[in-house]
């Protein structure tokens, strides 16, 4: 599971020796995120974001459990109970704003984490399973975030629930029974609100379980690194603790700085004002939008405006939206280049920075805009590029590109960056 030179756990006193023979939990932690886990010595700050995602999940679980102590999942009082949290509960406003903005922080961190993986080829063998489990976590996060947004039972909550469950209604034949089954009624109501609350409480713990699998799968080959060259000797690694616990600590501080500035100075910046209007099934908001982290997918959903081969446009949009994520599961076999890191792939790097990244930003911008021109045509072009990037461009690049020469080892790459440094073992 680890490199042969990994530090061995040595219980330091009578109690830890006693514990180590009966329940070696300290040994497990030591080997997972302590001095017993050797990590490439050249990780940059993009390798912080896994730890940050874990921190964000913990913030969500703690604030969420506290909110559940004051919230009532019942159609007639859900909205009022959220206002009760905001106005009457001691520090309730702080906990709710932390939870709402914590979701945004979680997605900022996870999107960075995903794009780190996309640039540095973290999805390539032998880490495909790490990538797949990560995508499962991402899908679970999306479901959790969506159901959480429904709970305040404002106008966006209600109409968001209606539009998203309506997506299942687009499936031929079984669509409508599935939609009714999901909602427990013919439109979002008490039954839907209650089950969304139940699942919103459950899923974070499922995410926690999959994160354990994600880290387990990661620790078998060990962490990747910015060169994409595998670890070859002890010189290439440093122990996770204290080196990366300290470095991650800097990242965690920066994370909480940004988080606190949102919570204390712009708590509603990323939300939608219509969600402070109680849910009303008889009146639709003029412009239904999901939370910002769903905008790229919402743009793909709405990009399909004409029927194609008897498939209705609405169903096409739904299929494309799900396909845009499921596609990523096939990425290890679409990008067949043996070189992992984008640093050594001149062509790949150009398409990444000038193709994929702007494409997703444009999709996000269109997804938050009203469904009218020019946004429709722009999101159609951007959606087409998104699929072409993964299905056509990446496989072709992998065949035609001449990668730059790779360093012989991580240590060599590090020393080349700091000419004049002498080679010496990590301490």
């Amino acid at each position: 599971m680890s490199f042969p030179w990994a530090n061995e756990y040595k219980p330091s006193n009578a109690f830890t020796r006693y514990l180590d023979e009966r329940l070696p939990l300290p040994r497990f932690v030591y080997n997972a995120v302590g001095a017993g886990y050797p990590v490439p010595r050249n990780l940059n700050y993009f390798w912080n974001f896994g730890v940050l995602a874990g921190v964000a999940l913990m913030v969500q679980i703690v604030t969420g459990i506290v909110l559940a102590m004051h919230y009532a999942a019942e159609g007639t009082i859900a909205f009022a109970s959220v206002e009760h949290i905001m106005r009457d509960v001691n520090a309730g406003w702080f906990i709710r704003y932390a939870h709402a903005n914590g979701a945004s922080m979680f997605f900022i961190v996870v999107y960075t984490h995903i794009f780190r993986g996309l640039f540095y080829g973290s999805y390539k063998p032998p880490r495909e399973m790490v990538w797949h489990l990560g995508l499962v976590i991402f899908l679970l996060m999306m479901a959790t975030a969506f159901m959480g947004y429904v709970l305040p039972w404002g106008q966006m909550s209600f109409w968001g629930a209606k539009v998203i469950t309506g997506l299942f209604g687009a499936i031929p034949l079984v669509g409508e029974p599935i939609q009714t089954w999901l909602l427990g009624g013919f439109a979002p109501d008490n039954a839907a609100l209650n089950r969304f609350f139940s699942l919103h409480y459950l899923l974070p713990f499922v995410i926690l379980g999959v994160i354990i699998l994600h880290i387990w799968a990661l620790h078998i080959p060990g962490s990747s690194n910015p060169t994409g060259v595998e670890v070859k000797s002890e010189q290439d690694t440093v122990p996770f603790h204290p080196y990366y616990t300290a470095k991650d600590g800097v990242g965690v501080a920066a994370f909480f700085l940004l988080f606190a500035s949102l919570v204390f100075f712009a708590p509603n910046m990323l939300g939608h004002p219509d969600n402070y209007i109680p849910a009303n099934p008889m009146s639709t908001p003029a412009h239904i939008v999901p939370e910002w982290y769903f905008w790229p997918f919402y743009a793909i959903l709405r990009a399909f405006t004409v029927d194609f081969f008897f498939i209705p446009a609405k169903l096409l949009g739904v299929l494309a939206m799900f396909a845009s994520i499921l596609l990523l599961f096939f990425l290890p076999w679409l990008d067949t280049s043996a070189v992992r890191s984008g640093h050594y792939r001149p062509l790949f790097r150009k398409f990444f920075w000038f193709g994929l990244v702007p494409c997703v930003i444009i999709l996000a911008w269109c997804g938050g805009a009203p469904a009218e021109e020019p946004y429709v045509i722009i999101s159609q072009i951007a959606s087409a590029y998104y699929f072409a990037h993964f299905l056509i461009i990446l496989p072709i690049i992998a065949r035609v590109e001449t990668p730059k020469p790779l360093p012989n080892s991580i240590t060599e790459a590090v020393l080349a960056n700091h000419a004049g440094t002498k080679l010496q073992p990590a301490e």
């Binding site: 109409w159 209606k162 539009v163 309506g166 009714t180 089954w181 999901l182 427990g184 009624g185 013919f186 439109a187 109501d189 039954a191 089950r195 099934p281 008889m282 009146s283 639709t284 003029a286 412009h287 239904i288 709405r302 405006t305 029927d307 209705p312 446009a313 609405k314 469904a371 009218e372």
Partner: protein, 205 residues
């Protein structure tokens, strides 16, 4: 390849020892085609547990379907006597808006003038109303695109380019028969199941 051969060896070894173990029972139970009594017990036990798991899963899945109190509201009676020609009312059916519209002769003529072949979802006004009650257009007030509530039922609301309903979310225009004429919606406004229980009362659902 090596590994496979190794496994085959292990497997045949197990089978051999099994055969010697079950020799006594084989003579008692009959040993046709290598099927042993133990195999039957394994299959029977697994099937029994499987049937048990499925029979418990069914109520767990079914509890998600609409409950009795939700279904109890599944039909609604509407008195249409007070709706004058050209007017419409917005009421609730299954927690969703329902439009009941009293068409004027001009609106009926406008709906009938359009050849159905030109429509995205070809239906005539006759298809969408009850025989003898052509002036009563009963539809769900739910846009077939993404489920918004179209405008045009209440007085003073925009009725769209075809004089019926207009969905403000993504700009779907419906005509005086509630048929989609322009915009992203794929089908006509849904006509729920309903019947006239008297000349002025309809029962929806």
């Amino acid at each position: 390849m090596d590994r496979k051969a190794g496994w085959a060896k292990v497997e045949s070894g197990i089978m051999e020892s099994m055969a010697s173990l079950t020799e006594d029972s084989a003579t008692a139970g009959g040993d046709q085609g290598g099927v042993r009594r133990r195999d039957f017990i394994n299959v029977a036990a697994a099937s029994f547990a499987g049937v048990g798991a499925v029979s418990v899963a069914l109520p767990l899945i079914n509890q998600m379907n609409p409950s009795a109190d939700v279904l109890a509201e599944a039909s609604t009676e509407v008195d249409v006597s007070a709706i004058a020609p050209g007017q419409a009312i917005k009421t609730i059916f299954r927690k969703q808006p329902l439009f009941v519209r009293h068409l004027t002769p001009a609106e009926i003529a406008a709906a009938e003038k359009v050849p159905t072949s030109e429509l995205r979802d070809p239906q005539s006004l006759e298809d969408r109303t009850k025989a003898g009650h052509k002036q009563w257009l009963v539809t769900m007030g739910v846009c077939t695109h993404l489920g918004c509530v179209p405008l045009g039922a209440a007085a003073g609301e925009v009725k769209g380019e075809f004089g019926g309903y207009f969905c403000p979310c993504h700009g779907s225009h419906y005509d005086t028969a509630g048929r989609i004429r322009k915009g992203p919606a794929p089908t006509n406004l849904m006509v729920p199941e309903y019947a006239f229980t008297s000349p002025t009362v309809i029962k929806v659902g």
